[in-house]
Amino acid sequence: MSATIGRRSGSLRAERRWALWTAYISLIIACVIFLMPPVYMLITSLKTNADIANLQGNPWIVTNPTLEHYRSIIGNPLFLTFFWNSIKVTVLTVVVSMVISVLAAFALARMRFWGSQWLATGVFLTYLVPDTLLFIPLYQIVGGLGLLNNTWGLVLVYPTLTVPFCTWIMIGYFASIPKELDEAALIDGASWPQMLIKIFIPVALPGIIAATIFAFTVSWAAFVYPTAFITTPDQMPLTIGVVSTLVRGDTFAWGQIMAGALLAALPPVIVYAFLMDYYIAGLTAGATKG
């Protein structure tokens, strides 16, 4: 009897170990594949032009590492303009979307008013409307306002990408704050705005950070609207700038393109590296609360 139990627990342990091995092997394979493109971009950006054009040998190793591509891309005034445009548009969009969504989420989470339920559903539905469905009418509208080929046009339309989701996750965070807290504040004579600023924003700070990160990443990576609305390089943000102006002519300057793309991708990657937990919280909040 005890022998069979021993054998069973032994096979259980073997099964555990086997499962662990499968897990590690799959994770290693996935990591190699997932990290392959960025790593190869880095490798290319460090090679000399002659090495990139060399068809002999292993393309995955760098023999004479050089920073010339980074030097020339940082020295390129156009690239700096792209960077500045991206920063300007992103910062403005993040501020505007956070103000709009925090105010709205507070009202929707705490103040029952006529149509609030209806509006919350509307927010969720607008989140489901993709930007590629709206870019043609928005092109006409932005054109009618005279904001085509202008970064302000982007600041005007980017909230469609960020506000619905930010509001949605902020409603979730605000709703999870215990009701006793606002009752206590109301008894102490706090007004609604005081309650929002003194209680809700500090308590829901992790949610606000998560929503801000989301708004930042989305506006930094936005691609459809700038490709449609922006035509001259001086108004381009980074994504479209790197894709359209560096990729030009018959001989591609691959080293420079890769260096430019990596530098352009750096800000979201840095934010992610330092605030990974908030990033993931924001990502999962939208669906788990739904």
Binding site: A23, Y40, P137, Q140, A287, T288
Partner: protein
């Protein structure tokens, strides 16, 4: 004199301003003011453009004449358009299935390893999702490059003949899907991992006591507990993938021979690049019913599930 006048004015203004203040203190008016910017964004930048798109799609090419459904008729009769429909559906369905399967598998594997190491692995595996897709696609484009393809170099090690990644229609379709799966699988992984962590451990303990195999645990505990999140994630991803633009624009720009166009890139090509705004609007509006159908079915599933649980 002046003093008495101001006094009279303030006296007259007093009841008005106090009633105004009372109005301003009312919960519903404050709430309305707070949601007003949101309502403006939704109405002005989503609802109005959507309606405007319908109007635009019924104009003639020069946009000076109302032509009804002519633009839709022309599209339905064009072969290219049906290729776009096929490619969009094929792309979305294949990519979402692959993303969901890979994400599910990786989430499981992550859940199995000791908690201490999970953070590190999760951090590395989410990198594709963090890089702006337009930029990472540039990297893929370079890896697919016909002369310098570093992917073919790796395949050559395993004695696989060189693949014409972006040159041949079917391979171009596969290449686009690969990039989308690479970009989107980490998202599914994170979602499913969060869902796996929320399944109560007692259920597995109870199942283990009853002698359930690992397949039975997956089939009768994990999958039912995760059904809700699986459907929400698939819904989001179907919509986003179906409406994808960045990857095709950077990688193939619709070629070879318009065979990799999706709705979004084709609408862009027709509407903005060729300047036929009404027809471009009509192309992108064709997405609407399909997206509505996806949304309807999956939301209904989620609601049913919620009702069963309550």
């Amino acid at each position: 004199m002046a003093d008495s006048m101001t006094a009279a004015v303030t006296a007259a203004a007093q009841p008005r301003s106090s009633s105004l203040q009372r109005l301003a203190r009312r919960r519903s008016s404050i709430a309305f003011l707070m949601t007003l910017p949101l309502i403006c964004v939704i109405l002005g930048l989503v609802v109005y453009p959507a309606g405007y798109a319908i109007y635009l799609s019924m104009l003639s090419r020069r946009m000076d004449e109302f032509v009804g459904l002519t633009q839709y008729d022309i599209l339905i009769e064009s072969d290219t358009f049906w290729l776009v429909v096929f490619q969009s559906c094929f792309f979305a369905v294949t990519a979402v299935i692959a993303k969901a399967a890979i994400g599910f598998w990786l989430a499981h594997m992550l859940h199995h390893i000791p908690t201490k190491g999970q953070r590190k692995w999760r951090g590395m595996l989410l990198v594709p999702w963090v890089i702006p897709p337009a930029l990472s696609t540039l990297g893929w484009w370079w890896m697919y490059d016909p002369t310098y393809s570093s992917l073919n170099w790796i395949l050559a090690i395993f004695a696989v003949p060189a693949v014409p990644w972006l040159g041949e229609p079917w391979w171009a379709r596969v290449s686009v899907i690969i990039v989308n799966v690479w970009y989107g699988a980490p998202f599914f992984m994170i979602m499913y991992l969060a869902a796996l962590k929320s399944v109560p451990e007692q259920l597995y303990e109870a199942a283990a006591i009853d002698g359930a195999s690992s397949w039975q645990r997956l089939r009768y505990i994990t999958l039912p507990m995760m059904q809700n999140i699986i459907s929400i994630t698939v819904l989001f991803s179907l919509i986003v993938t179906f409406a994808n633009y960045d990857i095709v624009r950077v990688l193939t720009n619709g070629g070879p021979r318009d065979l990799t166009h999706l709705f979004a890139t084709y609408a862009f090509q027709v509407g903005i690049l060729s300047g036929n705004i009404p027809r471009g609007a009509a192309v992108s509006l064709f997405m609407l019913p399909l997206l509505a159908v996806f949304a309807f079915f999956i939301l209904r599933g989620v609601n049913q599930r919620n009702k069963e649980m309550n």
